[in-house]
């Protein structure tokens, strides 16, 4: 929450100036305008600085599916929990620990004695694998995190990949006629990897932006300006980090190790070509291949309960958290039902913490 991303100094004066211009544009637009913040880290900034309350009433900021933990398929969580309970040591990023699968979470499995190590960097997983050759790394994340997993696979790390490509989800969102969005705030660090070109095909106002409150407000201003002028451009407000061509080394690494596959997004459904599957060349590192039978057996045993959880609709900006019957009554950060409540970037988690 301190300005570390840009080395800029947050200044109330600057935010006030940007807000003044936003108010002018909002007035001239008049109608309700919905802007989707795709990235969970942007939702954090919006909540931490109370930006929603500073905007004019007709400008709505809606959260999107940019929380990789929230959209990891229940089957993937179940499979990895099953592997852990079957004796496979796991290495995971901390975010995934509390996500509920069909009946329990990785944390529950750890309490039952499963060997689950929380890591900050994938290099710790490689180190751990030297002592525990059966180690499986649970790969979760979009294009910002996938290059590290690709790098580690080349070093021989065995991985269960639940990594996803983000632009196909954007395409799916925009095709869904039930979802009304007038502009997109594109993810800052995914963009640092993939650059600008994957977004060019979307015919909607878009701004790639950084993570300071001024960045987000500037993105809102730039989107409203486009909307007022009837434009549908892609603008990059995060040029200090995001280059037009992105990070080619990282993209090449992803493409070398992973190929596209169809993937299930929790609560949303199957999105074509959105999953990262480990290529045949590296199949020795693919936990889904090595433990194919164990995983099939785990998934056949798992009974998925139908719940009233509406995370899927929340992730697509169709409803607000308080429209979910479980929100706050049963589902809370200390007792989460759905993934949106578990992740610090989950829409429901943020709403729960910051809505007072």
């Amino acid at each position: 929450m301190n300005p570390t991303n840009t080395l800029m100094n947050i200044s109330k004066q600057n935010t006030e100036k940007i807000l003044d211009e936003i108010k002018k544009l909002a007035k001239s637009i008049g109608r309700e305008t919905r802007l989707m913040g795709l990235c969970g880290t942007h939702s954090q900034t919006i909540a931490q600085y109370g930006l929603k309350n500073l905007l004019p009433r007709n400008i709505k900021l809606v959260a999107g599916p940019g929380c990789p933990v929230c959209v990891t398929a229940r089957e993937d969580i179940d499979a990895v929990i099953g592997l852990a309970l079957a004796g496979m040591p796991l290495a995971v990023y901390g975010d995934t620990l509390a996500v509920p699968g069909s009946t329990e979470s990785l944390e529950n499995a750890r309490q039952k004695g499963a060997d689950i190590k929380i890591i900050y960097s994938i290099k710790e997983a490689l180190k751990e694998q030297k002592i525990k050759p059966d180690l499986v790394f649970f790969g979760v994340g979009f294009e910002t995190t996938a290059p590290m997993t690709a790098w580690a696979i080349k070093q021989g790390l065995r991985v269960y990949s639940a990594h996803k490509f983000f632009p196909p989800a954007m395409a799916a969102l925009l095709k869904n006629k039930k979802i009304k969005i007038d502009g997109l705030i594109d993810p800052g660090h995914v963009s640092a990897i993939i650059g600008e070109s994957p977004y060019k095909k979307f015919e909607i106002p878009q701004v790639i932006t950084g993570f300071e409150p001024e960045d987000v407000l500037m993105a809102v201003l730039m989107l409203l300006n486009q909307i007022a002028e009837g434009k549908r451009d892609l603008e990059n407000e995060y040029g200090r980090v995001v280059k037009k061509n992105g990070n080619e080394k990282a993209v090449n690494l992803i493409n070398e190790v992973f190929e596209q596959c169809d993937a299930e997004w929790r609560g949303i459904g199957l999105i074509k070509n959105s999953g990262m599957k480990i290529r045949k060349k590296y199949s020795a590192c693919d936990a889904k291949i090595k433990y194919r039978r164990t995983i099939a057996e785990i998934l056949s045993r798992t009974k998925t309960k139908k719940t009233a959880c509406r995370c899927g609709e929340i992730l697509q900006g169709l409803i607000e958290p308080n429209q979910c019957p479980l929100f706050k009554k049963i589902c809370a950060p200390e007792n989460p039902f759905g993934a949106c409540m578990v992740s610090i970037e989950g829409t429901c988690n943020i709403e729960y913490k910051y809505a007072r």
Binding site: N14, E21, A192, E214, L221, R240, N247
Partner: protein
């Protein structure tokens, strides 16, 4: 969806750099970027994913200044 924070490269040894995050020094893998000591990199899970162009660190204001000039034909 991706926590990544900027730090300054102090020294480099092969693919690893010692990066200073405002007083916290950590080894960071820089194989995904081309960087030299003195550069600022943005770090995610122990890897540099991009460089922070310090000169354009105030770019959001540049955008605002340009917007005002275009919209209202004056300087802020």
């Amino acid at each position: 969806m991706c926590l990544a924070i900027p730090g300054k490269i102090i020294s480099i040894k092969k693919q690893n750099a010692t990066v200073d995050f405002r007083g916290i020094k950590k080894e960071v893998d820089i194989s995904l970027v081309s960087a030299k000591p003195g550069d600022y990199v943005v770090v995610h899970t122990g890897f540099a994913v991009g460089k922070l162009d310090k000169k354009s660190a105030n770019e959001s204001y540049k955008y605002f200044d340009e917007y005002i000039k275009t919209k209202h034909g004056k300087n802020t």
